[in-house]
């Protein structure tokens, strides 16, 4: 919509100034990022979202689709702890579906790597973005992927089932299909029953081709047998999980609802305590917590690397704009990029051109 580039960069620098006042160090990232790491993290979908190009020596490269991965890499290599960063620049995304959306946009980010008080760090990031947007007509949303993660990890079922559900936390359709099967609501397909009924399914195996080994195939059949012998996940646990996913209230009411669920689902207690601590920390930063929306499922389909607190600021849906600012906690990502040792991290980004669009639409 807005094409006033000078205005966009001016705003970006002003926002960065706010992050610098919070003690963030200005940092930067290369425009072109190695594809293999991004592909490994995000999967094939990143190829639909990021522009790829090719270098004869370096192989496939991507125009940075965000700053988070290079900033985390930079941080993990630097060894500084704690640390806080801000960055400013363009990111690039293919717009395959809504072609009127921009393919490049200026983004300003703020990231805190500090494990000393996660609730305080969450609150600081949120409150900083909220302060930038205080006079802009946007609505905040918040959620916490950590609560759903805790619930799944606490399910009374096999480790393999918990792992499969964790893996598909971000794909609600697949998640539900798996859960339905583990609850015994849908039967296994006929081909699987036939495989498991066979006395020695490996006996008549056709000649093997490719990298996947005989041992891997045998291992999966064993896993299927273990799964078939496991008790279904109880309807009680299923109902609790459904109730959990439906929580969508103002923060204090959501907290009450989650505390009620935690009575029967004690595995989420620590995560719910974390939410309570975060709300206190937000209130201490003058965020109007009583009016703050909270939704357990928020960010579940769009924010794959977040694993705790998540937030966004959106314009009126009638304007049909992407989120003006988004962010969250991504402790697990730092562990992946740090070769196993992670650092608790939380951050967010804001897109100045969208802020201008929202203000212009008033």
């Amino acid at each position: 919509m807005t094409t006033d580039r000078q205005d966009t960069w001016d705003r970006a620098r002003a926002y960065q100034g706010v992050f610098m006042q919070q003690g963030a160090v200005v940092t930067d990232a290369d425009y072109m990022q190695q594809s293999d790491l991004l592909l490994d993290l995000y999967g094939e979908d990143i190829r639909a979202r990021a522009f790829t190009t090719h270098d004869p020596v370096r192989g496939e490269l991507m125009l940075r689709p965000d700053f988070t991965v290079p900033i985390v890499q930079h941080h993990m290599a630097s060894g500084a702890d704690p640390a806080r960063y801000t960055y400013l620049g363009k990111v690039f995304r293919k717009q395959d579906v809504v072609e009127t959306r921009e393919t490049e946009f200026v983004q300003v980010g703020f990231e805190i790597f500090d494990g000393s008080d996660p609730a305080a760090a969450d609150a600081e990031v949120f409150a900083t973005f909220a302060s930038i947007l205080k006079d802009v007509p946007v609505t905040a949303s918040t959620g916490d992927i950590g609560i759903l993660r805790a619930a799944v990890q606490g399910l009374n079922t096999t480790p393999a089932r918990r792992a499969a559900l964790m893996r598909h936390l971000w794909r609600p359709r697949r998640f539900k299909a798996l859960l339905d099967r583990y609850c015994g609501l849908i039967a296994a397909p006929a081909s699987r029953r036939a495989l498991l009924d066979a006395a020695d399914p490996m006996a008549e195996m056709p000649p093997l081709l490719g990298l996947r080994t005989r041992a891997e195939i045998a291992g999966r059949i064993d896993a299927l047998r273990t799964d078939a012998a496991a008790d279904p996940i109880s309807q009680i646990e299923r109902d609790l999980l459904d109730a959990l996913l439906k929580v969508r209230e103002t923060a204090p009411h959501a907290l009450t609802a989650l505390r009620d669920i935690a009575v029967d689902l004690p595995s989420i207690s620590t995560a719910v305590d974390g939410l309570a601590a975060r709300l206190d920390a937000l209130a201490a930063r003058d965020v109007d917590v009583d009016a703050l929306p909270f939704e357990t499922s928020y960010g579940r389909t769009s924010m794959e690397y977040y694993d705790g607190f998540v937030f966004g600021f959106d314009a009126d849906p009638g304007l049909n704009l992407p989120a003006v600012a988004t962010g969250g906690r991504y402790d697990a990502l730092t562990a992946v990029l740090g070769g196993g040792t992670g650092v608790p991290a939380v951050g967010g980004v804001i897109r100045p051109a969208l802020v201008a669009d929202v203000e212009g639409a008033q």
Binding site: R47, P189, P201, L209, R212
Partner: protein, 230 residues
């Protein structure tokens, strides 16, 4: 202005397209020598024949450089994002049928469905340290299909030909390819996933968007539609 009709420039697809139009009273033919890519249309006025590669027809339709085009429905879906907002399916022509499917080695007795593929991909990645590779040239269609079906931990490897051989060569673990009878797949020790049908393709007459069409072109299209019964 004339209405440009793009038709595959060689092979069975071209011959069958010519036959299909001829059966409906529209004669398409190559003019000049057999090697020349120029064509002529008899039986209806105002249409110009353009011979080009079937793979380029979606792009040319989208750009408005041709107004009608015959190509595989798989190619339109693969090459155009939101294809149904860019071109309109005028007539399914009933030939050139082929299914875009996902196939895995027959020896994978534990894999019959997408659910199995997903679970095998997760275990494969944990075991080998990289995502399970699926060789294909239909990147968009395969990616969208697997995303809709919640399959994760895979990567696409580009394969523009002899895709069935990639597994034996250990450059991929599974393939997504076009097949009409499944014979090449079986000969290469592969089997189709029972719910792995991505798209049943056939030769289709498409038209592009009409914003730039003159009244003459619209009239010609109407006349053609009535001849084709489309």
């Amino acid at each position: 202005m004339t209405l440009k009709l793009g038709v595959p420039s060689k092979g069975r697809l071209m011959e069958k397209t010519f036959d299909w139009f001829a059966a409906r009273g529209v004669t398409l033919r190559k003019s000049g020598t057999d090697r020349e890519y120029a064509g002529a249309v008899d039986g209806i006025d105002g249409i110009e024949l353009v011979l080009l590669s079937a793979g380029e027809i979606p792009r040319e339709l989208n750009a408005g450089r041709i107004h009608l085009g015959v190509t595989g429905s798989d190619l339109v879906r693969e090459k155009l994002s939101s294809w149904d907002q860019r071109v309109v399916d005028v007539a399914k022509m009933g030939f050139g049928g082929a299914d875009l499917i996902i196939a895995v080695p027959q020896a994978w007795i534990d894999v019959d469905t997408l659910d199995d593929l997903d679970a095998a991909a997760a275990a494969f990645r944990a075991h080998h340290g990289f995502r399970l590779r699926i060789a294909t040239k239909y990147h968009r269609l395969v990616r969208e299909f697997l995303r809709d079906n919640g399959v994760a931990d895979y990567q696409l490897i580009d394969s523009q030909g002899a895709t069935e051989g990639t597994i034996r060569n250990e450059t991929a673990e599974a393939i997504a390819d076009i097949t009409s009878t499944g014979e090449t797949l079986r000969a290469n020790g592969l089997k189709i996933l029972s719910d792995g049908m991505i798209h049943a393709s056939q030769a289709t007459l498409f038209r592009g968007r009409r914003e730039q069409w003159t009244p003459d072109m619209r009239a010609t299209f109407k006349a053609l539609q009535s001849k084709l019964g489309a």
